[in-house]
Structure formats: structure tokens, C-alpha cells
Symmetry: C2
Subunit: 691 residues, 2 copies
């Protein structure tokens, strides 16, 4: 160890050296707001303990409230999930407004548009760019990398991003932030006048070549650079003819190499090999690469602080390396992080809420906390973050009489999904009410179920939990809005349809010529229930009637709530050979098949009670004819009472609030349907309400 005085002198000398650099920078550099940070290579040193005192001096950040631009290419269902996790990690640490430039295919666009619209994070602007339009620009490059054509699109960003945009941070979907992105943005200030691309060295020996026989990588400077995190000076790239430059280089290399192995990264490296003056090397901590044969350990064992983790193995989180667990934990933090907590305003920056969010905030502020139904009203107003088609989904080919089963569920009903898939071979649109962490469990659940993994015609839409009451009708509306067939079967998750129901419904719709009828029709599927855990599901109406007579089956809620299904007229159904019409009556809540454009559910009914009843009233008010199908049936399986029904039973306030909402619903009906709505009001007797 050095004597204390000597150490001090050394420290002072180092610092003075630093000072000269910094002062020079302030006097002659381009961007006086920013500070400095040394770059690093794997074989050089400067991120380790040796220069710890300088690396600890963090860069000056961009000015408060400066807008930072980020570009991401994203296609498909799985990458869309990745982008959300990446954005969560960025938002968690950020202190600046952000503008995200998302290059997406149609699938990712529809998912991310819904997600960001419902997320309502302050000070985040989004702009979409159509990846389809970019394909001709890069499809001439043969590419062996798993990212396909989309990987190559980073090359054309300077051409497609707005001309007014001078700088952008470009991110792969498989990176996770562990620090404030403003620190990365601040590194633009260290670019020399010639430098246009900021990159971290590649943390593997790939570009050194000779990893195996005939391994011939694209040309690169030393180990080359990794393009998972890029700082682009768009203004200078445009000026310097970037488009010509990379195309020329790619064409030249493709004369001898058959394709890119690592997509855009090969081309970037070829350009840099030829023009090393273009690259500004970034410190290794800004792109810690976790492939199977990573050399990243050289970076992170010495570094004080990791900034960005890059899961650049096709195995992603399942990659094997000594410290994978550590990095997984950082990533899992954001996978499971409750996205609603990121709706944080940026203090001291001008408010940047979208208009809907502004309105919502005002409406929430006007609620009276002392009012007994406050919790309900708050829940009714809540806008839940929605991630549509959370898993890969292949919509069924369009068929005029096709029917989608629509239902909603939370975590405690996941075990119904396999049985449901066995009973309903057709398309389904299911809304799942989950926390972010539960959504990950759900992913695992589907992944380990061969039955569920095989079904690409089931669309799962995650609605993120917020508030104490189950937003049953909002969930139904999400699932309904995402159904893609002409007809929908509005079911509940605890029901298993007859094995033949899907085919039978399609045949019935065709035979009844529903699509050509002037009269709107709702086909009623009679509902039954079993009280047994194990239970042999009837294969036909005849078998069902036998079980009914034996007392193993009952008509649904016969003991507790007969009026819910009484108008279906089970006695008539027993004998029926043809569809028959039934009349609405108070509290009727059958399971029905209706056209996709049917009325939405009333979102004021949250928690337990009246959520389906109100919808059937709406159908009746819009003069849907209720037609019971003679061979259709669906059976409810037993489960423990929900928390909401328990609360309803034990809380007089709960019941009073439900009563109040019923009355408000009826006032709405009167406004919309006038005298015709009088019959519903007459039928409403408070004493009849469920207790």
C-alpha cells in the first residue's frame, strides 16, 4: 500500500489531469451542459478499480426537463411484451420526458398503442412507424439472425425518423435498464466532431473469427461493437451520406459473405472497420452482454455500477453463465413491477398528460371521499392498463358464421383454461385480470401446458389490476372488443360448454340465417350446474337430462337465484326440438350468442351483482329477440364463493351502493329508450335484489 501522503498526491495529480480535460472540454467542446466519461474496451482498462476515482465522477446530466428520444424496432407478440418490460425499466429510473419512436409491424402496433393509451404515463410521447414500409429498403440483405428483417431496420433509422431529430438512443427490445437513461444521453456530449455512432464493444470473441471451422464473421475493428444500445447523431449521419455508405459496404461484403449472421450489427461493424473515426466507444457498463460465451465478467466485476443489461442470447433469461441469477433478478424486478406505479409526474417539468388522462384526473378529483360508495365510483372511473394478445395469437380465417367464446377470469381460475380448451375447439377471447407479477405466472402456466400452448386461436388480453373491486364488466368489454368473428358467445369462466356447442352454434347461426334477418337475435344457451368436483360431462342432451333427473345436475342457481334463468323455461327446453322465443323478465341473465357489435356491458357494475342482468336489459331494450336453442347447454362447475360475493353478503353498504347503481342505470335507460324503458323500472323491486 502506498503511504497516505503519496496516495493523496497521486489522487491530486490524477484529478488535475482530469481537470485539464474537463476545462478544455468546457472551453472548446460543443455542448457545455454535459460532462464526461471515459470509454472502455475489454482489453484496455478504464472501468475498473485502477481508475476508480475518475469513474466515480459521474457525468453531468442533461438539463432538467430536456426531452430524450428513444427508437425501438418491435414486431410480433413476444417482442411487444419485451418492449413493455424494457420501457418499465427506463421509466423507473428516468427523470426526463421521453419520446419513443416505435418501428412496429401491425401486431405490435395494435398491442403497444392500446398499452400506452391505457397506461397514461405523464411525459411520455409515442410515435409509430410502419415496419412494412421499411421492408423494401433492407429485404435485399440475406440475414441469418433470429431477429430476421426487423433486426436490419435499425440501419434505416436516420432516413425515416423526423428530420428535426438530431440525436436518438436506439435500443434492442432485449435490454434492461438499471440506471437513468439521461446518463446515457449525456454521453452524446463526448462525441468528437467526426463521431456519429456511440457503441459498446462486443463482449464476445465472435468477430475475432475462427471460433470453429469455416467461421468467417463480417469484418470488424478488433472484437467489434454490439448494436443492442446505440447513440446515433442523426443530423451528422444524414449529412455524411450514411445511406449510401452502409449500402455500399453491405453490397461489397455480400459479394464474398452469403448473408449477415448478426443482422444490422454486421453492417455497422463493416462500416466502422472502414471508417473507425465514426464510432464513439461507450463504457462497457452501458451494454453488458449476456450470451453463453460472454466476456462481460471482465466488465461487471470491476465496475461500480451496471447501467444496461443486454439479453443477447436467443435463450434470453434462460442463458447459462456464472452470474445469470444476478442479472435475472434485475430483469425480474421489471417483469413483475406494477406498471401503474410508473404513472409518476416529473416534478418541475411542464405537465405532459394526454387529454384523456387530464379529464380522468379531474373526474377522480371531483369524487367525494366521504360518500359511502366512493370506492365503487373510483373503481368505475379507473382506466386499467391493457395488454391485448399477450401471447402469440393466430386469428382464425374469416368465416361468416364463426363464434368466439368471450369470458374473463383472474388468477384463481387459470385451472379452468385447459378444460375450456377441450370443450370449445373454436376461437376464444379471454380477458385476464392480473398483476404484472401474475401475468408472468400466467405465461409460465401456459408454457408448461401442452393443451394451452397448442391453441393459437385463443387470445389472452391482460387487464392489469388496480383497485379493490373486480371490474367484471370492463373485463368483459375488453374481451368482447377483441373478438374477431361475426358472433360471440358471452360466457363465464366457470362454465364448460357442451362438447358439440361450438359446431352446433355455427350450424344454428347458418340455418337460422341470422345474418340476413332484420330482427336482432340473441341465442340463449341454457345453463346448468353440478355441485361435484369430479363429474362425468354429458355427451348429449339426453345424457344431460338423465343426470338432471338423477339429481347430479341442476338448472343453474335453482336453489339460490331461480329468477336468473327462469325465463329460459327449462321444462319447455326438455321437450323442445326447435328454437323457441322467450320473453325478458326481471333479473334474467342467460348466457347468449349475439353479433359482435352487440351493446357493451355497463362498466358501472363492479364487484358482485347485476353485471349480466343489466346487459340483458340493454339487449331487450334494443329489441333483440331471445331465442333458446334446443340442443345447446353449458354447465357450471363448483368453486368457492368469490371475495366479492362474500363482501356483498357481509356489507350493507355494498348492497346499498349496488341499489344506487341500479337506479342510476334505470335513469340512463329512461333517457335512452324513453317510455319503452318503463317496464324495467316497474320490474325492479328492491326487495327482490339478491341478499
Amino acid at each position: 500500500m502506498l503511504p497516505r501522503g503519496r496516495r493523496r498526491a497521486l489522487g491530486a495529480a490524477t484529478l488535475l489531469l482530469l481537470v485539464v480535460v474537463v476545462v478544455g472540454f468546457f472551453l472548446f467542446g460543443r455542448d457545455p451542459e454535459y460532462g464526461l466519461q471515459a470509454a472502455a474496451t475489454l482489453d484496455g482498462d478504464p472501468y475498473g478499480s485502477r481508475n476508480r476515482s475518475t469513474s466515480n465522477l459521474q457525468p453531468l446530466l442533461p438539463p432538467k426537463c430536456e426531452l430524450l428520444h428513444v427508437a425501438i424496432v418491435c414486431a410480433g407478440h413476444n417482442s411487444s411484451r419485451e418492449v413493455i418490460t424494457l420501457v418499465k425499466s427506463v421509466l423507473f429510473y428516468r427523470k426526463n420526458p421521453l419520446h419513443l419512436h416505435l418501428v412496429t409491424d401491425a401486431v405490435a402496433r395494435s398491442i403497444l398503442e392500446t398499452h400506452f393509451r391505457t397506461w397514461m404515463v405523464p411525459a411520455v410521447a409515442i410515435r409509430f412507424y410502419d415496419a412494412e414500409e421499411l421492408k423494401p429498403l433492407i429485404s435485399w440483405i440475406p440475414n441469418k439472425h433470429y431477429s430476421g428483417l426487423y433486426g436490419l431496420m435499425k440501419l434505416v433509422l436516420p432516413s425515416i425518423l423526423p428530420l428535426s431529430l438530431a440525436r436518438v438512443v436506439v435500443l434492442d427490445t432485449d435490454v434492461t435498464f438499471s440506471s437513468d437513461i439521461a446518463e446515457l444521453w449525456a454521453l452524446f456530449a463526448h462525441f468528437s466532431d467526426k463521431q456519429v455512432i456511440g457503441l459498446v464493444e462486443n463482449q464476445s470473441d465472435w468477430y475475432l473469427g475462427n471460433l470453429w471451422k469455416n467461421h468467417k464473421p463480417w469484418p470488424a475493428l478488433g472484437r467489434g461493437f454490439n448494436t443492442g444500445v446505440i447513440l446515433l447523431r442523426l443530423d451528422r449521419l444524414r449529412q455524411s451520406g450514411w445511406e449510401q455508405m452502409w449500402k455500399l459496404m453491405a453490397k461489397r461484403e455480400l459479394l464474398t459473405l452469403q448473408a449477415t449472421s448478426l443482422a444490422d450489427q454486421d453492417v455497422f461493424n463493416a462500416v466502422i472497420k472502414e471508417h473507425p473515426e465514426l464510432v464513439h466507444p461507450l463504457p462497457c457498463v452501458w451494454n453488458v452482454q449476456l450470451s453463453d460465451h460472454t466476456l462481460a465478467e471482465r466488465c461487471y466485476l470491476e465496475a461500480a455500477d451496471l447501467k444496461v443489461i443486454h439479453w443477447n442470447s436467443p435463450k434470453k433469461l434462460r442463458v447459462k453463465n456464472k452470474h445469470a441469477e444476478f442479472f435475472r433478478n434485475l430483469h425480474l424486478t421489471f417483469l413483475g413491477y406494477d406498471g401503474k406505479l410508473l404513472r409518476r409526474e416529473l416534478f418541475g417539468c411542464p405537465s405532459q398528460l394526454p387529454p384523456e388522462a387530464e379529464q380522468l384526473q379531474q373526474a377522480m378529483a371531483q369524487l367525494d371521499e366521504a360518500e359511502p360508495c366512493f370506492e365503487f365510483r373510483q373503481q368505475q372511473l379507473t382506466v386499467h392498463r391493457v395488454h391485448i394478445t399477450f401471447l402469440p395469437h393466430r386469428p382464425p380465417p374469416p368465416r361468416p358464421h364463426d363464434v368466439t367464446l368471450v369470458a374473463q377470469l383472474s388468477m384463481d381460475r387459470l385451472q379452468m383454461l385447459e378444460a375450456l380448451c377441450r370443450h370449445w375447439p373454436g376461437p376464444m377471447s379471454l380477458a385476464l385480470y392480473l398483476t404484472d407479477a401474475e401475468a408472468q405466472q400466467f405465461l409460465h402456466f401456459v408454457g408448461t401446458s401442452p393443451v394451452l400452448s397448442a391453441r393459437k386461436d385463443v387470445a389472452y388480453h391482460v387487464v392489469y389490476r388496480e383497485g379493490p373491486l373486480y371490474p367484471v364488466n370492463q373485463l368483459r368489454n375488453v374481451a368482447l372488443a377483441q373478438a374477431l368473428t361475426s358472433y360471440v358467445f358471452l360466457s363465464d369462466i366457470d362454465f364448460l360448454p357442451a362438447y358439440s356447442l361450438y359446431d352446433y352454434l355455427r350450424a344454428s347461426i347458418e340455418q337460422l340465417e341470422l345474418s340476413s334477418l332484420k330482427q336482432k337475435v340473441a341465442l340463449v344457451v341454457p345453463a346448468f350446474e353440478t355441485l361435484h368436483y369430479r363429474f362425468s360431462f354429458p355427451n348429449s342432451k339426453a345424457e344431460l337430462l338423465t343426470l338432471l333427473d338423477a339429481g347430479s345436475l341442476h338448472t343453474f342457481r335453482y336453489h339460490e337465484w331461480p329468477q336468473g334463468h327462469a325465463p329460459t323455461d327449462y321444462a319447455r327446453w326438455r321437450e323442445a326440438q326447435a328454437p323457441y322465443r322467450v320473453q325478458w323478465a326481471a333479473d334474467y341473465e342467460p348466457y347468449v350468442v349475439v353479433p359482435r357489435d352487440c351493446p357493451r356491458y355497463d362498466p358501472r357494475f363492479v364487484g358482485f351483482g347485476w353485471n349480466k342482468v343489466a346487459h340483458i336489459i340493454e339487449l331487450d331494450a334494443q329489441e333483440y329477440e331471445l331465442l333458446v336453442l334446443p340442443e345447446a347447454f353449458s354447465i357450471h362447475l363448483p368453486h368457492a364463493p368469490s371475495l366479492d360475493i362474500s363482501r356483498f353478503r357481509s356489507s350493507p353498504t355494498y348492497r346499498d351502493c349496488l341499489q344506487a347503481f341500479k337506479e342510476e342505470f334505470h335513469q340512463g335507460l329512461s333517457r335512452r329508450y324513453g317510455a319503452a324503458a318503463l317496464k324495467y323500472l316497474t320490474a325492479l323491486q328492491p326487495s327482490q335484489s339478491r341478499a
Copy 2:
């Protein structure tokens, strides 16, 4: 705006000034490793945009791997929960090893000791100090603050912490970190030679006085200082006779003031008023105080970055102020954060795992991922983080024949708790398998239930979720270990005991003189089941028999798994007037009452199957006599099949692994009980196993 050249020159000048300070510091300062940061007061400026360029220059951090010391005073169940959330926030951002010095009462010690032992976070050392012993040192000070005597204990820390300890960060339990604690530690380096206490100014007008008629606060310098976050130079405090100093001051003020209003804070401020040279003012962001009348906005609207949030209103998170939502979101991040993700090693620092954690890591590393039962074996080895007595708990007074109901549950069975409380008026010890986020939902659930809130004799032990299989027997063992009565009723959460069962069991234990018997006895409580959601619970054995004959009740699992309870001999029970002995038979799994020191459950049975069966075998092998009680009964309520039973049914691997574990269990039995265990092996017929 200044012209560009002028701005540069100014920047350079500022920087040069800064450099002189820093270099001077390196040459002449005490701690060459550390950097600098300006302090701030509410009416002064220096945290805002005006000096942004310097405040953006973050302090140099302490050397990598330097051990940081933190002291916290904590008493009772609620503060123990707070401490865990605080520590989570510290661990999330920390990059240094930590030593926590916890001054605790007996309750907090037992909770936190278990919690940290099972948490196994690398590079965190814990030392406990008995608050009981400190009481005489401060109990002479009358205190009106809600923290009671414990609040005052911060005053005596210099006397009780180890003499070798020169510096410590002292934290209230109600603060949340939003940054690396090393940055706070680094501020020690800015203390002048005289300064011994680092504090943030109080962000309210309290100490200015005259807030209302006769409001007479303790003396303070201006607005005074807040003691939620303190940097203490213990070495200098001890040298300067701190103990005499604060006692003298407190005694003097108590001549005119009757008591402290804000505990230790009043005394600290009185001392500082007299000796202003002792205090080193810290930047306001290190203790952003969120009381109802906070002035903190002046701090955080200007600051680039908040470091520590202090919930210093008795209302805590329910405090009302304009930006409460923002701060709540930061806090909720850590309330719901999955604690196991904080088991991150510190790269480049010597490993600091406790020996058990080291062993566990080795055992885990030896598992073969390719083995079909890998997932099970991993689950069996998993050490779950455990938070015992998560809610306030008052153990029942010791009574020799008392019985605690022991059970375990997860989130989907919360709705059973109220009914269970109505059926069992005695003590309960319940293990809850939850995520951190679910534990918060559980807290809310109990808080809104008058039935549950009223019961202080129910102890809830949270076992944090980890891994895909339900660790049913580990949960049972946690609940069993925490039972405080001589006897335990080993039940399951889906069962409701007869209303009279608690009294009847105590009477039976007394009458049978169980405690004086040489023979060990397990009292069998016969199990029944209903398949109906709504169900009128029988008030007596006679009523139960009527329901049984009417077919509304069945003996438990009569249809699916009769051998589970067959030996109870229900026919004999119908007629029995006195307890009768029954013999063990294969697959018997009755619900029993046993002494608290009974054998533990075998943790190898995770997920579904054989978890109780193995325990009953163990009782039989230890020659417990099985005695059926003629008036005891318990009834199982319907619920949907669990995920684990679904997996068991659908996965051959699951069934094969269970079979393998049964065999391993039997090998263990043979080793422990020799030839006596042969009968269990003989009885084990693979074909009999559940399918």
C-alpha cells in the same frame, strides 16, 4: 440568454473553482476517497436549478466494498413490517456491504431475526440490541410523541453501539430510500472537524412556534432539524461528552416544558440551538418530509433527484398533500417488491453469505437439471423468507389445556378466514403463502374486516412465495412452530370446525388427562364435507347426522378417496358416547389434536399428494395412540380443484416423482424406526396411489 462563448467561460470558471476545492480536499482533507456536495436549507437555495451544474456533479462514492453501518430502533409488529420495507429500499439501490444495528423489543427481535435468517441476503450483517435494557436511560423524559420511549432511544446510540464504530447512519422506520445509501454515507466526508451530527432541516414551521394558542415548541435553530435521517460521528460524540450534554439540555428544558413533543428530535434541536457548531446540515433531498403541513415542495420541485422520503405524519401513507400519490408510488414499489430478488451478490466484493446460505447454494448446485423431478427437488430445498406474526398479535394467557388451530393457506382462501374465526374462538397460528404484493392485499383485507381486526389471538405468518410448487408441509411447519399453547389442532383451511369444538377439545384434554399420560395421544376429529355453497352448519352431532342421512353432508372424500378417513370408522362414531381407539391403516390422513412438540411434517412433499399421510405415519411410528372423539367434527366446504391437483392429474411425471418421494420417505422411516417401519412399506402399494 448568455452568448455561447460567455456561457462556456462561466462554466469553466465555476469548474475551476470547484477544482480548487476538490484538490484542496484531496491534499488536506481527512478522507481522500470522498467527494463533495453542498448542503441546503429551505430558505437558502442550493438544491435548485440555480446551481444545477454543480449539484449535478454527484459526490464521489465510498470505496467499492466499504462496509456501511446503519442503526434503526424498532419495536412491535407494525414497525417490524416498516423496517423490512425500508431495508428493501436500501438493498435495492445499495452497492456496498451493510451492517444493520437493530435496537429492538422482544417482538421485533423475534420477527426480524427470523426474517433476516431466512432472507439470506449476501453482504448484510445484523446485530440486535435489547431495547428493554435502554429504557432506564431515557424513561425519565416525559414524551408525548407517538413513538413513545422508543423514539428517544436514538439519543443513547453513541453509548450502546460498539466502541469500534466511528460512524453510523441512523434511520427512522418510516423512511424510504430512492437512491444508493453510499451517497448518504459519502456526506460524512463533508463534516468539518467540529461537526458530529448530520441532519436535514425540518420541513415544517413547527419549531417557529405560535402555530396555535400556547404552542410552545422546544428551542431550535430556525426551523430546526428533522431526526428521521441522521449521520452520527460516534467517535467524536463520545469524545465530546455527548451523554452529559444531551442529558443536561433535556433536564434544563424540562424545567419549563412538561415533555418532549417530538421525542429525540426535541432534544437534538435543543442541543444544536446551544451548540450550532455540532451540526452539519445535509441537502434537503436526503429527508423529504411528508407531513400534512409539509414545506417539502420547496425542496422537491427544484431538485433533480429525491434521495430519501420520510413519512413523518402519524397518518403515514394516508397523509394528504398535493403530491402524496407520487411519493406513495415510490413507497409502494418496495412494499410490493419481491424480497427474494434482493438476494443479489455484490460483484467484486468478498462473498459474505452466512454458512447456511453457502450450504444451500452448494446443495442447489448439485441438483441435476435434467432429472425429471428436478423442479420438485429444487422446491424442497428452497428456503422461503418468513415473516412471523405479520400483524399485531396478543398471545393467549397460558392455560394448560389450551389448543391452537394450525393451518396454512394462500390468497385464494382468504375468504375462509372470517368463517373460521366465527367457528373457532380460540388461538390460531396460520401460515400464509404470499408474494410481497399479496401480503399487502392481505393487510388491507384484514383491515377492512371487523371480524378479523377484532381477533388478536390469531397469528398470521407470511411465508413468501418462491418456486412453482406449493410447499404445503413447510407452511404447516412454520405455523406449527409458532403455536404457543400445549396442544395444536392440525387442520386445513377449507374446514370449518364445529362451533363447540374449541371448548370440547379443551375439556377432552383435561378429562382424558392427556398431559399426565405416559402414552402419546393424537385425538382424531372426524371430517365431513358438503358440496353446497350455501349450507346451514349443524349445531350438534345430532343435526350433523340428520344432514348426513339426508345426503346434504358426506363423510370426507367418500366418493374419491375413502381410504383417507376409513379408519376413523364413521359407523362406530355415529353411535359412540366415549372416545375410542383406532388403528393406523395405509393412506390414513385424519385431522388430529396433538401436543405442540409432535413430529414436524416432511418437507419433501410439495405440491399435491401424501403430505398429511406421511405425517400420520410418523405419529404412528412414534407410537401415538389414535383416539377418535365422539362429539368432535369438522366440515369441508367446496372449492375449485387447486392448480396442484390439476397438475398431478394431468402429468405422469408429477405422479412418478411423488412415487419416488414416497419411497425415499419409507427408506428414511426404515433408518429411523428399523423393523417397526416395515408395516408401512408393506402397506404401500403403488396401484393404490391417488390418480
